[in-house]
């Protein structure tokens, strides 16, 4: 009975700790919705896969929240047509490449500043590479949850069509007010009906903001609760020595820390302190694996990312991120 009580306390503590960051992320994402013309932001993104993936990782710097916070933002950007490479690498790198996380990592590992350095470099590298891999799939819709994919208006960039003058293409067309001809097809309905965000009056914008905050809180809050419940349950009912006994061997320590990272699901803004508590029993490469892999993939994050991606996509993300983290940190343990 006391174990159940302990599990409940741990569950609540995870939620109470994460809630401010979740709210912050949702508010930031909703502000993005009403104040930023996302179509312009998306248009600014480089189309080149490599550059796009790298830039996507870096713009995480502008969103200083942990993974609870950047998932709503990534979702918004994807719906607005952000290229795959940018969105995926943003999702993976943003929880780590932001001022708060870098600062807290430095505070925790003041005696080992190289940990901060490697955390940033490894995360950015992994995120960029995975972003490049997913840039091969140009159309994001098969990757996304069906309901999200339906509301996404995605136009393939087909240079061949542009060479044929509009007049010679078959189909139905509308002539808009500006004299520009628009093609009438399935995605037309979505774009035509949505007014540009700047055209909406202020009062209506705030109403949209409110609606969006409540909707995202409801969605992500529910998922956060499920993830925290699983994390707390595993914490209490799986004996920790089982995971900790693997601490000294270079390979098993890395694997054990990665597994712990997934189970514990702690916010990236504070996970450096958590990792530090294992510094006496684990190799620093395994701590690095915890710090790099945890913010990308953990039980809580998987739950949140299920609101964007299909499960198969998440399995790929997990496998790629896990392998790359493992290889990089193993190299780190042998070379440095």
């Amino acid at each position: 009975m006391s174990q159940l009580q302990n599990a409940f306390t741990l569950f609540l503590s995870l939620l109470v700790e994460a809630m401010p960051f979740l709210l912050l992320g949702v508010i930031l994402s909703s502000i993005l919705l009403i104040f930023v013309d996302e179509r312009r932001l998306v248009a600014l993104m480089p189309r080149n896969a490599v550059l796009g993936a790298f830039v996507g990782g870096c713009i995480g710097f502008l969103f200083p929240v942990c993974e609870c916070g950047n998932v709503p933002v990534a979702r918004r950007l994807l719906v607005q047509g952000m290229p795959n490479a940018v969105a995926v690498s943003f999702l993976l790198a943003a929880p780590t490449i932001n001022p708060i996380v870098i600062w807290s990592t430095w505070v925790a590992f003041r005696d080992q500043p190289e940990i901060v350095f490697y955390r940033v470099i490894f995360s950015l590298f992994i995120a960029t590479v995975i972003g490049i891999i997913f840039s091969i799939q140009k159309d994001p819709r098969p990757l996304l949850q069906t309901s999200l994919a339906k509301s996404l208006n995605w136009q393939p960039e087909t240079p061949e069509k542009e060479s044929i003058p509009l007049l010679l293409q078959s189909g139905s067309f509308l002539i808009g007010n500006s004299g520009k001809t628009l093609r009438l097809d399935e995605s037309f309905a979505a774009t035509a009906v949505l007014p540009a965000v700047q055209a909406i009056p202020m009062k209506r914008r705030w109403l949209t903001f409110l609606e969006n905050v409540v909707m995202e809180l409801r969605e992500l809050g529910g998922v956060l609760i499920l993830g925290s419940a699983i994390a707390a349950g595993l914490q209490v009912f799986v004996p920790r020595e089982f995971v900790l006994n693997l601490g000294q061997d270079p390979i098993t320590s890395i694997l054990a820390m990665m597994l712990l990272a997934v189970i514990v699901s702690i916010c990236s803004t504070v996970d450096s302190f958590f990792a530090l508590s294992f510094a006496s029993s684990f190799t620093s490469s395994s701590l690095l694996a915890f710090l790099v892999f945890g913010p990308m993939i953990d039980l809580k994050g998987i739950g949140l990312m299920l609101s964007i991606f299909k499960p198969r996509m998440l399995i790929y993300l997990f496998a790629l991120a896990a392998q790359m983290t493992f290889l990089l940190t193993l190299a780190h343990s042998y070379l440095f």
Binding site: L33, N212, I225, L244, F274, L276
Partner: protein
């Protein structure tokens, strides 16, 4: 009031209850000090702001709902671009409401000795505290808390350096099976950000009687003197470790403190 309007209103109402429920839960934790049992004090202010923000959101949403009801406007949101769900519709707010209610009715408890044993009680600090480089004798030994003793020991582990010093510490009881019957461990948890990373530390106490009068999780105030002894490390093995032990002169039961964790 026809049922189709009800169908639209009720889920929105649950949203509002979820917001206000969580706002109240966070506020209740802040006001009653139960936040001490859950997270590190650095984040208390953040939680307060969040609870106020959630309240404001709930009230504003309620107000807009009432206004729309009065004007008999179509209550379903026109803005379709933001409605992307993975959980069944409004499942999320249901979960939030249930958790808030559970949290309001079930008080959080300090973590128990079972968790301490599971995580392994240590005599050294987790490396989250900045290591003290040198010691001034500004704090008198009898005024040091358990965590300060552990910090001292961490900086200079030789037990003989402290033998004879007066001790007065508080903590909860953990009975270690490998120690003889007149020994128990007095412990505390150290938090870095929230209860999930609570790290137990403790020191052995030598009692004059049997430890059976002090069951696990009892909070005690121990007054006594430091001494050095060799105590067995594991059950069934004969290896002993020379370590600092508190020789108790007086043992007093105290109520569970409001802030049982150290930082």
């Amino acid at each position: 009031m026809n049922s189709s309007r009800l169908k639209i209103i009720v889920p929105q109402f649950i949203d509002i209850i979820a917001l206000i429920g969580w706002g109240s839960l966070l506020f209740k934790y802040w006001i009653t000090g139960q936040l001490n049992l859950l997270i590190h004090p650095n984040y208390f202010f953040l939680v307060l702001i969040t609870s106020i923000a959630l309240f404001i959101l709930g009230i504003v949403k309620l107000w807009t709902l009432l206004k729309q009801w009065q004007k008999k406007i179509n209550l379903d949101s026109n803005d379709n671009r933001s409605h992307i769900t993975i959980l069944p519709k409004h499942f999320g707010s249901g979960l939030l409401v249930i958790t808030a209610l559970l949290g309001l009715f079930i008080a959080p408890q300090p973590l128990s000795s079972q968790i301490a044993l599971q995580r392994g009680i240590s005599e050294s600090l987790p490396l989250t505290r900045v290591q003290t480089q040198s010691f001034g004798t500004t704090v008198k030994p009898e005024e040091k808390s358990l965590i300060e003793w552990v910090r001292t020991l961490n900086a200079y582990p030789e037990p003989d350096a402290y033998t004879g010093q007066p001790v007065k510490v508080t903590g909860f009881v953990v009975q270690l099976p490998q120690l003889p019957d007149n020994y128990l461990l007095i412990s505390r948890f150290i938090l870095t950000c929230c209860a999930v990373d609570a790290y137990p530390v403790g020191l052995p106490v030598k009692l004059s009687g049997s430890r059976s009068q002090y069951p696990n999780d009892t909070w005690l105030e121990i007054t006594g003197e430091m001494t050095t002894e060799s105590l067995p490390v594991e059950v069934g093995k004969s290896t002993t470790r020379r370590q600092l032990v508190i020789k108790a002169k007086s043992v007093k039961s105290i109520p569970t403190p409001v802030d049982p964790y150290g930082y």
